[in-house]
Symmetry: C2
Subunit: 376 residues, 2 copies
């Protein structure tokens, strides 16, 4: 699988045009695009351009409603519940996090839960919205069940990421991770490479540990059973019940406190995914001098980075550092997009009657590609 | 190592007398005792009677100040920061969680951070205080560094448990776990049994994975390096950076937002441990109908428990179930206390001039025990 690098500006213009052509306003297209391209800039390929096809399908199938607007259905000075009405997840989520931030600036804390939304991209984007304004930010989302609870053999919990961001010097802290040991994208990567899965990732349909990527993925797709282990594996000795517990924390702050659809029922409807989110913003100033707290945190992060390295290791990262370095490098040298994704973008252009080559000049689709034809 | 079972009432009377003899008021002794014995009732032996020796030593060495009172040093309607003044961790923590609950009942949310405290027992106790009143509760504490960050070889983060509790039918959800793969107590257990540690638990002084319990424990005690891996092990492929991230979440809500001592400096002072905590209470009513939310959550928990089991497994637990069954069984049949702990209690009686046999009738100390002598 080859990669081709594109300048940020090219992908930016392409995404803007795609979403406007789908019928989103210029401002909304800007928002969706920013969430997607931030993932690519951060080096989280799975959640960037690679996902265009998913949004394309969602709009085509009718699970994403481009005209829908999120609606506040319950509100207090510290909280809100939003019904996403199956609007684009990024739009509902930016709206919800803005509301949490507004509340945090007024009362000190804002917790906003969302039901009936759609896939929202990277959780870290929303946590960072808060930290960019000097607040502590957290974001949660449930998703189609993929995590098998400890001692189970059926996926009942989503990959359920939890993200947290807080400002610090010389750069913010940003942790964003699924509560499964890995996400489905990683399994797909191993499958494409014809490599056995690492131990401790996946379960077959009977709930046994399995390294057989094609079998595990086939069972997931056909809902025969099995799935991905919680962080901590599939036995208590390695902490399986802990990853399962973090998955539950995510479920509480998304589907439970919004009265929405739990992961085990997400994406089982014809006309909606039902995906739920949660957003928290906390103003550090309600704990004293916000600048002093930031300095205190920065000092601890520095101590972590400077602490002694394991034999053979050169550095200890604090969370969010890799993303910052990836962004710098990609803004300078371009964002790598793989050939499969380029084919998906060509199909998208054909569908929307956009001129693929006006964005991606001189790019030729691989000969064996699954391009469905038509003008693009 | 043998075990002997004691009725709850015997341990209750013993603990009450011990803490009153240490100089705590009757009410405060009651509080401390309830936290400790709840751990034993829940089957969390490491945090019950077994810890009496630690509190004994803390008071003797002067890191726990029996006369100190926690003080609110900053407060808003949704938050507070408490200086524990090195009072008994349980007393400061119950005080802090009560404050968080009070705020949650008034404004919807209460976040209380605590600095300069001491070991507080099980985090779940405080989370449960909130859920017992129909609120969502969370508790965090940092502790003496034992977790080695990914790619490091020096412990920089505590075992940093995160607990969350929420009411449900037929019983509440209660998740309470360290963010390390296991706690130090587990290493000590394997050491006592002369068994090699399971793979994926510990690191030697150079940061290599190690199954050598005596070596790892000796390095921890002498601060030569090494320690316990984060949940997810010591490499990114198994999610090490995630456990490390959850450890950081705990640190943020304890030491960072309280301007307290971070784990890497906890317990390095002569006159204090510096341990910090965090407590969150959220009123589900700020998200709509609290009863409906509880029913919705209960339904999901039921679906999890009833979902298909892995080959060879008989049941799937939701968090907190094991504790409920343990409590029922132990209230009926007694709480098992091991002989080593009994010896510690005998030493404690000798120190406090309490009559050991007035509580533990007919119990004989093992012949090779480390009883230091004196009247007891």
């Amino acid at each position: 699988m080859g990669y081709v690098k594109w300048n940020y500006e090219i992908l930016d213009r392409f995404c803007q045009d795609v979403f406007e052509t789908f019928g989103f306003s210029s401002e909304d297209s800007e928002t969706i695009k920013d969430v997607l391209l931030t993932a690519d800039l951060f080096g989280i390929e799975s959640h960037g351009m690679q996902r265009m096809v998913r949004y394309h399908k969602g709009i085509e199938k009718g699970t994403i409603h481009p005209d829908a607007k999120p609606e506040v259905v319950f509100e207090t000075p510290v909280s809100a519940v939003i019904d996403g009405h199956s609007a684009m997840g990024q739009l509902t989520s930016v709206y919800a996090m803005k509301k949490a931030i507004e509340k945090a600036k007024t009362t000190g804390v804002g917790i906003v839960t969302v039901r009936e939304s759609n896939h929202f991209g990277i959780a870290g984007y929303y946590a960072k919205m808060a930290s960019d304004q000097g607040l502590l930010g957290m974001a949660f989302t449930n998703s189609e069940a993929i995590m098998v609870p400890t001692f189970g053999r059926k996926a009942m919990i989503g990959s359920n990421p939890i993200a947290i961001a807080m400002d610090a010097e010389p750069y913010p802290f940003l942790f964003d991770a699924s509560t499964t040991v890995v996400t489905r994208g990683k399994l797909e990567m191993y499958n494409k490479m014809n490599k056995p899965l690492p131990q401790g990732w996946a379960l077959d349909k009977d709930g046994h540990a399995s390294c057989d990527a094609p079998d595990v993925l086939a069972n997931i797709v056909s809902k025969k059973g099995g799935g991905i282990m919680p962080l901590g594996g599939n036995c208590e000795v390695s902490g399986s019940h802990k990853g399962y517990g973090y998955g539950m924390i995510c479920e509480i702050f998304s589907s439970i406190l919004s009265m929405g659809v739990t992961s085990n029922s997400c994406c089982t409807f014809a006309d909606k995914t039902g995906i739920c989110h949660g957003f928290i913003a906390v103003n550090p100033a309600v704990f004293g001098d916000a600048e002093a707290i930031k300095a205190h945190f920065s000092q601890y992060l520095k101590q972590l980075r400077e602490s002694p390295k394991a034999d053979g290791q050169e550095r200890i990262y604090t969370h969010g550092e890799k993303e910052i370095f990836a962004e710098k490098e990609r803004r300078e040298n371009g964002i790598p997009v793989n050939d499969n994704t380029m084919v998906e973008l060509a199909n998208l252009c054909a569908y929307l009657k956009l001129n693929f080559h006006s964005y991606f000049q001189d790019y030729e689709l691989p000969k064996d590609s699954k391009f469905f034809g038509g003008n693009y």
